[in-house]
């Protein structure tokens, strides 16, 4: 590892519509090192990547690349300077072949007007040889596995003389084996002198791969240093800003059963899932992407109903074949993607709050506007949504406040069962704690709460029961005496065995 600095950021600030995404970030990446950027969701990691790659220009602060100060950088400038980003969705073209995906970018960069097919194949094969990938160059991207798509994205990045490769949460959708392979590739790129920045917040993975670490919290630079300087205690403290006060949720043991699910199955998603939920319980459901964790929530809410199995809510067997069935049975659901599924971003807080319960306000043949406004004001106060009135569009709110609006939308339907998929994704630390305490209060009132998440610390802290899914089947039911590491190993380990079988 050389001490030569490739990329340096000083006091970078950026805000969007009153939301301060970055409040002064310093970062230093050296040539040929593997640098981890860690921080909780919503700490500004994505914005920082965009600032480095020229998508956003910082409001304040300066960026040096290879010792040269750059200003008003455009994405193409960043690419020309050797900065390549691999986003979570890889930004590949599913309808094009592997070779086209790898080589077309280079064609664009060189401003070629005509496509030379022979050259495209040569370039693609050369790139794949470099990272040791073995994929048929003529296969369309949509037919590849997640890991192979990522491989293609890496190949595409390195053909353009990359000097810094940025990977945004590269391991979220990978099995343990695929992660190992990815790390091998990363190390071989490092050996070629390419600097690597990995955005990650999983401690065990960071220890395995990183040379150095920078931690962000709430858009602010917290600390940076060699990986050896961090033990778990410091890491958690720097990440969360709290001295590890893990107050785990410990409900009074309740006897009243709220929800019982028996042998629930949906073909191709999950099979034979059974669990029960008592008064006061907060149930967590976790698993890797594609393990069926999210699909259980979708089935209970009728978005893609189960084929078979039994659902008993408050002692009554119910059948859920559609969203209206679920709502008739007083089930609420906070979807995984707040922006596209949970909210009407252009509409006001009030419109969003009453979206699922608007029929309540039909009085004497017309809508009771005053009633809708009063309700919205009530929830703004009750949930601590930071907004001056019910009128502003939801897009003006920060992640945490926007998520509270989604929660308000469902609480206003007075659900008996409340399912939340990724309830605190992209939510800042403070709002995260508030949302958790709201959920605990609801659970104590006897409302069934199910949290679906891959955020293991969140689950361990907030759920008193954790259901682990693996390849569509229940692989374990834990209580919260389990620690994150063991739970994490369970997810990873279980998929390891799956890999060996195949």
């Amino acid at each position: 590892m050389s001490e030569e600095v490739f990329l340096k950021l000083e006091g970078v600030k950026k805000s969007f519509g009153g939301v301060h995404a970055l409040r002064g970030v310093d970062l230093e990446i050296r040539k040929g090192e593997i640098h981890c950027l860690a921080g909780e969701n919503g700490c500004g990691k994505s914005t920082l990547i965009k600032a480095i790659s020229g998508v956003h220009n910082p409001d304040e602060g300066s960026i040096w690349i290879d010792g040269e100060k750059v200003e008003n950088m455009k994405p193409m400038d960043a690419i020309n300077r050797g900065i390549q980003v691999i986003y979570q969705d890889f930004a590949v073209f599913p309808n094009l072949t592997v070779a086209e995906n790898i080589a077309l970018n280079g064609e664009l960069k060189n401003k070629t007007k005509f496509v030379n097919w022979k050259q495209i194949h040569e370039v693609a094969e050369k790139a794949m040889a470099q990272v040791g990938a073995d994929i048929d160059p003529d296969v369309k991207l949509e037919r590849l596995s997640v890991a192979n798509k990522q491989m293609v994205a890496i190949c595409r990045a390195i053909i353009n003389d990359a000097k810094l490769l940025i990977l945004d949460e590269p391991t979220t959708a990978l099995t343990a084996r695929e992660v190992d392979k990815l790390w091998d590739i990363i190390r071989s790129l490092k050996a070629k002198g390419i600097a690597i920045m990995i955005v990650n917040h999983k401690l065990d993975e960071i220890y395995r791969i990183a040379d150095r670490l920078t931690i962000l919290r709430n858009g602010t630079y917290i600390s940076s240093g060699d990986i050896s300087e961090y033990d778990q205690e410091r890491f958690t403290r720097d990440m969360t800003g709290k001295d590890i006060t893990e107050e785990k949720y410990m409900p009074e043991p309740g006897s009243e059963e709220v929800l019982r699910v028996e042998h629930l199955s949906r073909k191709g998603a999950f099979e034979n899932v059974s669990f029960s939920l008592h008064k006061g319980d907060v149930l967590g459901i976790t698993g890797l992407l594609g393990s069926g964790r999210g699909e259980i929530g979708e089935a209970l809410f009728g978005l893609s109903p189960a084929d078979s199995g039994k659902i008993v809510l408050n002692g009554k067997e119910i059948s859920i074949k559609s969203v209206s069935d679920a709502m008739a049975n007083e089930i609420g659901y906070v979807p995984e993607d707040r922006l596209t599924q949970g909210l009407f971003m252009q509409r006001s807080i009030q419109d969003n709050t009453i979206a699922a319960s608007i029929r309540q306000y039909m009085k004497h043949g017309r809508l009771d506007k005053k009633g809708m406004e009063d309700t919205t004001n009530y929830w703004i106060k009750e949930l601590g949504i930071k907004a001056p009135s019910p009128k502003p569009a939801v897009r003006t709110l920060s992640g945490g406040n926007a998520q509270k609006v989604v929660i308000a939308k469902w609480l206003n339907t007075h659900p008996k069962l409340f399912i939340l998929d990724g309830p605190t994704v992209g939510v800042d630390v403070g709002a995260k704690a508030e949302i958790h305490s709201i959920l605990h209060d609801l659970a104590k009132k006897g409302i069934g709460i199910i949290i679906i998440s891959d955020d293991l610390p969140e689950l361990v802290q907030n759920c008193n029961k954790i259901l682990v899914m693996k390849e569509g089947k229940v692989s374990g039911m834990m209580d919260n005496s389990i620690d994150e590491r063991t739970l994490g190993n369970m997810l990873v380990g279980s998929s390891d065995r799956g890999g060996e079988k195949a």
Binding site: L303, T340, M362, P392
Partner: protein
């Protein structure tokens, strides 16, 4: 200032002001160029006779566009229902000679026109919502389909010879004020009430803002899509009655320029082509603005193509203005 901006109301208000400003501008220009002809009662009345038939069509276009779609089939629905109404009226009154049957014939014609219009729209909506085919394609097919049906019934030539009572709907006046003005005002009131004060109206806005989030909020998106297009179809039926009565003639090719004209009106009126945004008053004002301009061109005996050009300029200006206002609103917020 900032709090007003946060309320998100400043932008549409500016839009409304722009339209009113353009109307004033048109009036001023005409006051200079043609003071004698333009500001006469006769001219005002002649304008009122003209705009309601496409003004009501524009509301159909508006609701579909707010719901995130479009309705290109409106003119087809208008002519199809118009032909049906004309047929009923001429058959029942024996080509206008049997006046005793005039009132029941008109009532039946109106009911049939609205019902058939609603069915045509519901059919569009069902195909769009159930099979998930873009509204633009479905309603374009609908336009051909309903025009074809109208042609099939008439076999080509127009149906003429309606009784006077029927002609009076769009040509008669009470105390010098055309009946159609009252019909138009009623239509404005109904559409405004539906959009503002009913669950259905709010669901249209929700659907247009984010179809996926609507589904995740328990809104039956298929039902809302069908009902929206049905609503549009019923408005098409109203226009069918008006144009047939106005022209005293029904055929498959009446008002063929109205499809683009109504699109122009709704976009000029501040309805966002992506859906979720738009106000009844904006569309009503835009309708009147276009009528002022059309009338001005008519009085000055100017080429119809010149009018098309001016309309095009207006639309481009409206779109640019919207883009500019959106950008400025965003900027204000980040300050």
């Amino acid at each position: 200032m900032k709090s007003r901006n946060l309320q998100g109301k400043a932008a549409p208000d500016t839009h409304m002001l722009t339209i009113v400003g353009l109307m004033v501008l048109a009036l001023v220009i005409m006051a200079v160029l043609q003071p004698g002809d333009y500001f006469t009662l006769r001219n005002v009345r002649s304008m009122i006779f003209q705009f309601p038939e496409y003004g009501i069509l524009a509301f159909g276009m508006m609701v579909c566009m707010i719901a995130g779609g479009i309705d290109l089939s409106l003119v087809g629905i208008m002519n199809f229902t118009g032909v049906l109404a004309a047929m009923i009226v001429t058959k029942m009154t024996a080509n206008g000679s049997d006046l005793s049957m005039a009132v029941p014939a008109i009532i039946l014609a109106v009911i049939v026109a609205l019902a058939v219009g609603g069915c045509c729209g519901a059919f569009n909506g069902f195909i769009i919502g159930y099979f998930n085919i873009p509204a633009m394609l479905v309603t374009l097919c609908g336009l051909q389909l309903y025009t074809g049906l109208a042609y099939g019934i008439t076999g080509g030539p127009a149906i003429n010879g309606m009784c006077d009572a029927f002609k009076n709907i769009a040509n008669g006046t009470v105390a010098g004020i055309p009946y159609v003005l009252f019909i138009y005002i009623l239509a404005v009131a109904v559409v405004a009430f539906v959009m503002k004060s009913t669950v259905f109206g709010h669901e249209i806005y929700f659907l247009g803002s984010n179809a996926k989030a609507s589904r995740y909020s328990g809104i039956n998106t298929l039902k809302v899509t069908v009902m929206t297009h049905m609503f549009s179809g019923i408005l098409g039926g109203v226009s069918g009655i008006l144009i047939t009565s106005h022209l005293n003639s029904a055929k498959s090719s009446n008002g063929s320029t109205y499809t683009l004209l109504t699109l122009l009106i709704v976009v000029l009126g501040g309805v966002h082509p992506d859906g979720g945004k738009g106000r009844v008053m904006g569309v009503a004002l835009a309708t009147i603005l276009l009528q002022l301009i059309t009338n001005a061109f008519g009085l000055m005996h100017m080429d119809d193509n010149a009018k098309t050009f001016v309309n095009g300029c207006l639309l481009v200006a409206a779109l640019l203005l919207d883009a500019y206002l959106d950008k400025r609103a965003l900027k204000k917020k980040s300050e």
